[in-house]
């Protein structure tokens, strides 16, 4: 007996034709539904200018995610299960294609090639079934709280399992008929065949029935790809390749046409619709959302789902997502970061906010804040002339138009008008003076960057604020723009016209780390051995750690404070948990549920730290508001460094 197998053995012609017909039907149905999605994307708005598509980098990103499952494996159990399933599926799919090649193009599955092929496919099948079983267990056993109770999802898993098992049984029945010895390489089929032989069934009839069943299930699967979340098989690589290429959390300009009109799907960008088509509702976004965790009426997964529904039913998105959901978002981008496909939730929420703002439907507190930005150039409604009050007695140079400085210190409104945040620029200024840095501030000429306005959906106010700032900055000369505010940092860096890299924006933690590394700032002597050290935990600001991927600098600064010992919170670095201030959350508080900052402080307290370090005035103020009745202190890293230097003495 030759070492190979007859491909259409025991398959009558009508069954073979049936296989091709039903498969073509399934594939056709999926192509048709996907075309429907594509038609909706084509009707949508174009994406505004983003970074140019670097094809090589984008393709490698796709390869890393498809074959490496890097983002998926952030949840290890789900990630590995999915990895097994995908590798098994790809193996079986490639195997089936090879069989087709062998059958119709070049026969090559003979002898050793056939044995290796059979052996590898057994493993692929096992991996596939292991993945399916693992996922079924997670769903049925309720191990993953983030998963929806979805009959469709359960049905798809059962279908996949049935396809895998029937595949093995077809093989077993075929082996059971002739029982060639070399088929022991197909070890799963071989073992099952022994069972069939022992049970003395009509293997030939069983084979034919199972073959038909396996083919029918496969065709059904093909048909379901377009109609269910299985779409991600096709769309996920496309989404990862083409996703809107802005920095995480950086917003696109609003469309100018009828800004107050209902947000029909055609008024979204194709990238936003592609997002919605790709979503598999895995709930990773919901699991990390601070608003959801605090019991506020926002579920990011449902927002993406509503976008898909709006697209399918051609209904405006604002009819499907309520105002309380919109205002509860802190734009912390945890959802984007957690999503395996980097689906943007917050850009949809901000687009919805834009519609409400144009209709005048904003919270009175938000309205006062926006008016304050327009009339007084700051979000606190303080007097512009009071802006540099924090610097009283510090001998900080104020730039006049035409002046020049090495480092221009952009102080931001929070530190200028909130007495609780005033200590931050004071510490930064003292440190810069100690390091001999040539720096200056703009004083009363500084105005709001427009960040809170943009996150609240008031694009016109943001544009006006940005134009004012750009004009002010054009009037002075400087080499670097320094800011201690994570929000100013993000918006100046990512949402302002590029200044050709002439004056890069630096965060104060970056500059302080640089000064420490260069030896321009003294590292205080370590405390004498036996002297008590205090535990400190760093709360990474979202706009620094997630939007701008800077997590090393604040830690490097903290490390220089020898009297402190760093402990990490469970959610740190890029996985940090919001303080609740972002996206205008500091002004517009959705009162339902708990305060987000309270949740974060609980997490900080559980580390046993005596000090919570931050690197953003908003985080500092929000977290400090939750310290009632505790001895825990909230300090900016610059304050801690200055305290450390002052304590160590001259």
């Amino acid at each position: 007996m030759p070492v190979t197998r007859e491909i259409w053995w025991n398959v009558p012609a009508w069954l073979a034709i049936g296989l091709y017909l039903t498969s073509a039907l399934g594939v056709g149905w999926t192509a048709w539904t996907l075309l429907g999605h594509a038609r909706a994307w084509r009707r949508a708005r174009p994406v505004g200018p983003g970074r140019p598509l670097a094809l090589g980098a984008a393709l490698s990103r796709v390869a890393i995610e498809v074959f490496g499952h890097v983002r998926l494996r952030r949840d290890p159990a789900a990630g590995w299960a999915h990895l097994c399933l995908v590798y098994g599926f790809v193996g079986l799919f490639v195997g089936t294609c090879l069989v087709f090649v062998h059958d119709r193009v070049v026969p090559f599955l003979h002898g050793r090639a056939y044995l290796v092929f059979s052996f590898l496919l057994e493993w692929a099948g096992l991996a596939f079934l292991a993945g399916v079983g693992w996922m079924l267990g997670r769903r049925v056993g309720g191990r993953a709280a983030r998963l929806e109770r979805s009959r469709v999802a359960l049905g798809i898993l059962l279908l996949l399992g049935a396809i895998g098992i029937s595949g093995f049984l077809v093989e077993a029945a075929r082996i059971a008929v002739s029982r060639p010895g070399f088929e022991a390489w197909s070890f799963v089929g071989w073992i099952l065949a022994q069972g069939l032989v022992a049970a003395d069934v009509d293997a030939r009839a069983l084979h034919r029935a199972l073959w038909g069943g396996h083919a029918a299930l496969s065709a059904l699967f093909f048909g379901l790809v377009g109609a269910t979340a299985l779409r991600h098989l096709v769309l996920a690589p496309v989404q990862i390749l083409l996703r809107d290429r802005r920095a995480v959390g950086a917003l696109a300009p609003a469309s100018d046409e009828e800004p107050a009109a209902p947000l029909a799907p055609a008024r979204l960008t194709w990238a936003q619709l592609l997002d919605a088509s790709t979503c598999v509702r895995c709930g990773r976004c919901t699991a990390v959302c601070p608003a959801t965790a605090a019991g506020k009426p926002l579920d990011p997964r449902l927002v993406v789902r509503a976008t898909l529904r709006a697209m399918r039913e051609a209904r405006p998105l604002d009819a499907l997502v309520g105002p309380d959901e919109l205002w509860a978002c802190t734009t912390c981008a945890a959802c984007v970061h957690a999503c395996p496909f980097q689906i943007e939730v917050l850009d949809k929420l901000v687009d919805l906010r834009r519609v409400l703002v144009e209709r005048g439907a904003v919270d009175p507190a938000a309205a006062r804040m926006l008016e304050a930005i327009l009339d007084r150039g700051n979000a606190w409604g303080g007097a512009p002339a009071d802006r540099a009050d924090w610097a009283a007695g510090l001998d900080v140079r104020v730039l006049r138009p035409g002046d020049e400085t090495d480092v221009l210190y952009w102080v931001g409104c929070a530190a200028a008008y909130d007495p609780a945040a005033r200590r931050i620029p004071q510490a930064v200024a003292r440190l810069l003076q100690a390091a001999g840095v040539d720096f200056a501030i703009l004083g009363a000429a500084e105005t709001c960057t427009g960040d809170p306005a943009r996150r609240l959906g008031e694009e016109g106010c943001f544009e006006a604020a940005r134009a004012r700032v750009v004009a002010t900055l054009a009037g002075v000369r400087f080499r670097r723009l320094l800011t201690h505010c994570a929000h100013c940092f993000h918006v100046l860096r990512n949402e302002y016209p590029a200044r050709d890299g002439r004056d890069p924006v630096v965060h104060h933690t970056q500059l302080l780390a640089e000064l420490l590394a260069a030896g321009r700032l003294r590292v205080p002597a370590p405390p004498p051995s036996g002297a008590p050290t205090e535990a400190v935990t760093l709360h990474d600001p979202c706009y620094l750690a997630r939007h701008n991927a800077e997590t090393g600098a604040p830690r490097a600064v903290l490390k220089a404070v020898r009297a402190l010992e760093a402990v990490e919170m469970p959610r740190s670095r890029a996985q940090t948990f919001c303080c609740g201030a972002g996206g205008g959350g500091a002004w517009v508080e959705v009162r339902a549920g708990r305060r987000i900052a309270a949740l974060r402080m609980e997490e900080a307290r559980e580390t046993g730290a005596a000090v919570v370090a931050t690197a953003c005035p908003f985080c500092a103020v929000m977290l400090e508001g939750e310290t009632a009745g505790t001895r825990i202190r909230v300090r900016d890293v610059a304050e801690l460094l200055w305290e450390g230097q002052a304590r160590a003495g001259p």
Partner: protein
Amino acid sequence: MNALVLLHQGLDPSLALEPADGGTARPRRGDPLAAASDADRSALECALGLARQVTVLSVGPPAWEALLDRALARGAHRGVRLWDDALAGLDAAALGRVLALAVGRLEPDLVLAGERGLEGGTGVVPALVAARLGWPCLDAAVRVAFEDGLVVVQRRLPGGRREEVAAEWPVVVSVARDAAEPRYVSVRARRAAERRTVECWDLASLGLDPATVRRWIRLQVTALDWPRPRPRRTPAASRSVSAADRLRQLMGPGPGAPKPGSPARVLEGDPGGVADRLLAFLEARGLLRP
């Protein structure tokens, strides 16, 4: 039903001033030069809620066009700015006479103005206009409505009492600043409104000549004094209130916001728990018998 809203702008009373030439005061460097009054904005909001046709009128120089633009963006249908150099430095009585003439020409059914607008802070201008026209004047309005063909106004009286008065139109109403929270108008809507033109009237359109108007002015400012900068009370970085509440305190009074320094606070939590704490609070003060 047509409404006319009188708008005025002046120095922002919440900002400190610095000395200027000739013993006068001016805003400090960087501070805005002028602001509309909150009461005027509240009056406009009331008018927009009541009338089919809303006209806004200002007696002011070309720099005031922005004030009227913003009113148009808020939803006013027509903007009129009346100006002549002779109208600079009008006293309340003269302003009242000029406005009465303008009202006579515009023929509204209802005139609304902010209570104690910024025209020297006298608060008598709406009353003077009403007196000139022979219309009733309903002042200190915290609520304005139409009921059974009458203009019904809830007035704020001393001691926190309220009085409801009704009158047949035409009437003049002076509106308190907290009568209505002005709706927010986006910058885009403001830009669109800038494309609409504000009508400019001169004295001749009211049949006046500058000499007449100057004769009406019987009052002159002889000296100006302003308070030396006083320390403002800003809420300290307190551990006892949440950041959101403290921010509200910093941003000044709004609807339902505790005033700076007041012991008022917002109770949060589940309704049952909040009710229990309220009861305990009232009992502790002897306001409720346990």
